[in-house]
């Protein structure tokens, strides 16, 4: 089922490590059209394959976690990283994070939260639910380079 990096590894960043030569596939979630365009470009510039989603439910669908489908093994697309906006109407980035971490299929996928507001309680609650990182918007190329370097190179 899972290809690429050490599926048998018990390391918490097993999905965080790519095989040499693999291109990371990133799912970017943001309700803002301009921000989606930006994050997509930033990720492409860092040699990632990018899929964008405009809200939480669409993201879950893409990951194979749509609520109307039960046993989703294999129907979801493999992503190496999810990067999501926090403030979204309907399902927030925090709620999306929780759903991803609650599912056996996706709980190892690193999730990064982006927000324009650097509120400590918000950051803490996200980190507590297993977010890999909390980044302040607007994103710069250096932010994304740092992320993808980590993705390619897990520093135990």
């Amino acid at each position: 089922m899972a290809s690429g990096s050490a599926a048998s590894s018990s390391s918490s960043c097993s999905n965080w490590v790519m095989e040499n030569g693999d291109v990371p596939h990133v799912l970017a979630v943001d309700d803002n059209l301009i921000d989606r365009k930006l994050i997509e470009k930033l990720l492409r510039n860092s040699s990632c394959r990018v899929t964008t989603a405009e809200n939480g439910p669409r993201a879950l669908e893409f990951l194979g976690l749509a609520s109307d489908k039960q046993n989703n093994l294999g129907t979801g697309s493999k992503v190496n990283l999810v990067i999501t906006d926090y403030c979204m109407p309907g399902m927030t980035g925090y709620e999306l994070l929780k759903k991803i971490k609650e599912s056996a299929i996706t709980k190892e996928v690193p999730v990064v939260i982006m927000s324009s507001e650097n509120i400590p309680t918000r950051v803490n609650e996200c980190m507590e639910k297993g977010a890999q990182m909390f980044i302040q918007k607007p994103l710069k190329q250096s932010d994304v380079k740092k992320l993808t370097c980590q993705l390619m190179n897990c520093k135990g």
């Binding site: 803002n32 301009i34 109407p89 324009s116």
Partner: protein, 153 residues
């Protein structure tokens, strides 16, 4: 009247510097320019055009909500929050800052303050649009003449 490339480039540089100096643009706009490359040579213009459409859409929505009775301040705030985000993303500093003030008036449910902020936003957006369109026009002329676009010093 034709202008040679060097003159165009100088005009471009001066105008660009002025936009930063006067606070219309901040570093995030520079970040956008850095993203432009051979695979997406019109990236900045594309993003900014999206921003213009988004601006007009959101400003109209804010106006409509403020005209209602009673005013749904949460709705207004939602639109302003969106606009603040977009503005921050492209480096539209003055617009972004007015949005921040606008949000405090929404929270306070201060109609007069909100209306004033909306007017300021409309004004600032209009200024920014004109300024950027001029910049892009110069850019096109320089490109057409085969010249290089000056980067911000």
């Amino acid at each position: 009247m034709t202008m040679d490339v060097m003159q165009l480039q100088r005009k471009f540089s001066e105008h660009q510097s002025a936009l930063y100096r006067e606070g219309f643009l901040d570093d995030q706009f520079t970040q956008l320019q850095k993203l432009q490359d051979e695979s997406s040579p019109d990236f900045v213009i594309e993003v900014v055009t999206m921003y213009f459409d988004d601006s007009e859409n959101l400003l109209n929505k804010m106006a409509r909500v403020l005209e209602q009775n009673p005013v749904d301040y949460k709705q207004v705030d939602a639109h302003v929050h969106q606009y603040k985000g977009s503005s921050a993303s492209i480096g539209a500093a003055r617009v972004k800052n007015i949005c921040a003030t606008f949000r405090t008036f929404c929270e306070a449910q201060n109609l007069e303050g909100c209306v004033r902020c909306l007017q300021q936003l409309q004004h600032e957006y209009s200024l920014l649009k004109n300024n950027l369109q001029y910049l892009f026009r110069l850019q096109r002329e320089i490109q057409a003449a085969g010249g290089k676009i000056p980067t911000l010093e």
